[in-house]
């Protein structure tokens, strides 16, 4: 009897153990299913939230999947591009191919390294956009791409209004400045009678001050013309060597006065004629020469040289002047920028000379640059290509 009871107990125990195990497994499975369901609901919520963000985003958004098919386009992008989502979603983006700006986007879709950052695109007269690309990746694997379209129509308009305002103001200022120049000149020339030396000296100071104002106004007007794209005149074949020599002549006096050792190295082989806006290139050379002379201390050295190869002509000017501090070099070509050490030497200077020079050279499809070390000197150079596509 004892054995039977033992057997019964063992079986009973096993049965209970299995029941407990089944119950545990059952409950464990239930828990797992609940977790999965919760995760699924959360995922759907996240997706809905993201969709809500994209749909209501105030910039235009286009999402491409990793096969470069258009997966999503939001309402703002539809409006910008005058297109309906149904027409182009899930199809290869042939509809977008009609836009000229889609070319670089296509390149980016194929190669995410070729990203686009804030590229200006004019859609029509009333709409200018800024386009940026974003690569969506996870652990170095591409999941797709995002195109962002940002409306900058208003910014462009404000920029235009600002330029017009400066242009207007500068033009208005020219007449009274002219009048002052004229009247002072007449007095200084003795047309209105003899003056004492002291009177003459004082009036000369006025005259020089006025000349500075006139130069600043002219620089401002040049800047507005650059911004409005009205700057370059029709280019004609010119000899760079002649332009350089003519410009140097204007500085001969000051170079001698400052006792600066000046040398102009003419090109070994004659430089072929370049199609240039001669006046503007002269202005550029003048700006560079002006800086070199202004910022080189008496007794210093300035070397100008010209050379050319098959593709381009290069102008180079090296001085032993005060140089440009390294932390200021990045901003050198900015409008109104003047180096701290330059300001100490001469407070006068518009800070527009290099900005204008850079614009002129780049409008000729050339390159301008420099190397400089504070207190040692600077070397400025620009290249002009022989074959430029039309400006």
């Amino acid at each position: 009897m004892k054995q039977e009871t033992k057997k019964k107990n063992i079986t009973q125990e096993l049965k209970e153990m299995t029941e407990i195990q089944e119950k545990d497994t059952y409950f464990a499975l239930l828990n797992i299913l609940e977790d999965i369901e919760e995760a699924r609901i959360r995922a759907v919520e996240e997706k809905n939230k993201t969709l809500a963000v994209i749909t209501n985003f105030t910039d235009g958004l286009l999402v491409f999947n990793k096969e470069n098919k258009l997966y999503l386009i939001n309402p703002v992008a539809e409006r910008f591009l005058s297109v309906n989502a149904e027409e182009i979603v899930n199809k290869r983006p042939y509809y977008l191919e009609k836009f000229p700006w889609f070319e670089p986007v296509k390149v980016f879709l194929k190669d995410p390294a070729k990203k686009i950052f804030r590229k200006e695109i004019q859609i029509n007269k009333e709409l200018t956009l800024e386009l940026s690309t974003v690569s969506i990746t996870r652990e170095q694997e591409s999941l797709g791409s995002l195109i962002i379209l940002h409306d900058i129509t208003r910014e462009k308009l404000i920029e235009q209004m600002k330029t017009e305002f400066v242009s207007l103001a500068a033009h208005q200022l020219r007449t009274p400045l002219s009048a002052i120049k004229w009247t002072l000149k007449m007095i200084l020339d003795g047309d209105l009678g003899e003056m004492t030396k002291e009177q003459k000296d004082f009036l000369e100071k006025s005259y020089v001050s006025n000349e500075r104002m006139i130069n600043l106004i002219n620089d401002l007007l040049n800047v507005t013309r650059i911004e409005e794209g009205r700057y370059l005149y029709s280019p004609e074949p010119v000899q760079l060597e002649d332009l350089t020599e003519e410009t140097i002549k204007n500085y001969k006096e000051e170079i001698e006065r400052k006792n600066i050792k000046f040398h102009f190295e003419k090109p070994k082989n004659k430089i072929p004629a370049l199609k240039l806006d001669a006046e503007k290139i002269k202005l550029t050379i003048s700006n560079l020469l002006d800086n070199a002379v202004k910022y080189t201390l008496p007794g210093g050295k300035i070397d100008v040289s010209l050379k050319s190869d098959k593709e381009k002509a290069t102008f180079l000017i090296k001085d032993s002047g005060i140089g440009i501090p390294e932390d200021q070099q990045k901003r050198l070509f900015n409008k109104f920028f003047r180096g701290a050490n330059a300001l100490r030497i001469e407070t006068d200077g518009s800070g527009l000379g290099l900005f204008i020079a850079k614009n002129i050279i780049e409008a000729h499809k050339g390159k301008i640059g420099f190397e400089s070390e504070e207190d040692k000197g600077s070397t400025f150079y620009f290249d002009l290509p022989f074959k430029a596509e039309k400006y």
Binding site: R174, S178, K181, D189, D191, I217, L221, Y233, E279
Partner: protein, 126 residues
């Protein structure tokens, strides 16, 4: 100082200030100066009383300097009179156009000084 034998200058300029200054200087040099404040008035005066030389502003109301020059070219008597334009901007576009329309020389408003004006006038009519 030898008086420039009363050569007649017609000064066409809308800005009062510039007009006054130029007129003063030219009369001081001995020239006879008549003035007009816009292109139309200028044309009327040069027809009535042809000057020896014309100083012509470009930017003016009613009729600008370019329009004046185009009218002058059509008249066989008027087009013999030397014209020196007064340019506001000094931009090559403007100066070139004036040259093509027959201007003999130019002055740039913000840059010219009394001596330059007299020199250029003397070059044309002595």
């Amino acid at each position: 100082m030898l008086k420039a034998r009363s050569k007649k200058i017609l000064l066409i300029e809308d800005e009062e200030l510039i007009l006054n200054l130029l007129q003063r200087k030219l009369e001081k040099e001995g020239y006879k100066v008549s003035i007009a404040r816009d292109g139309k008035e200028g044309l009327e005066k040069m027809i009535k009383n042809p000057p020896d030389i014309i100083l012509l502003d470009i930017v003016m109301p009613r009729m600008d300097g370019f329009e004046v020059m185009e009218e002058v070219r059509k008249d066989k008597n008027l087009k013999m009179i030397p014209i020196i334009i007064i340019s506001n901007s000094g931009q090559p576009v403007e100066l070139d156009r004036a040259k093509k329309l027959g201007a003999r020389d130019w002055l740039i408003k913000t840059e010219f000084d009394p001596k330059e004006v007299i020199t250029k006038i003397k070059q044309q009519i002595g």
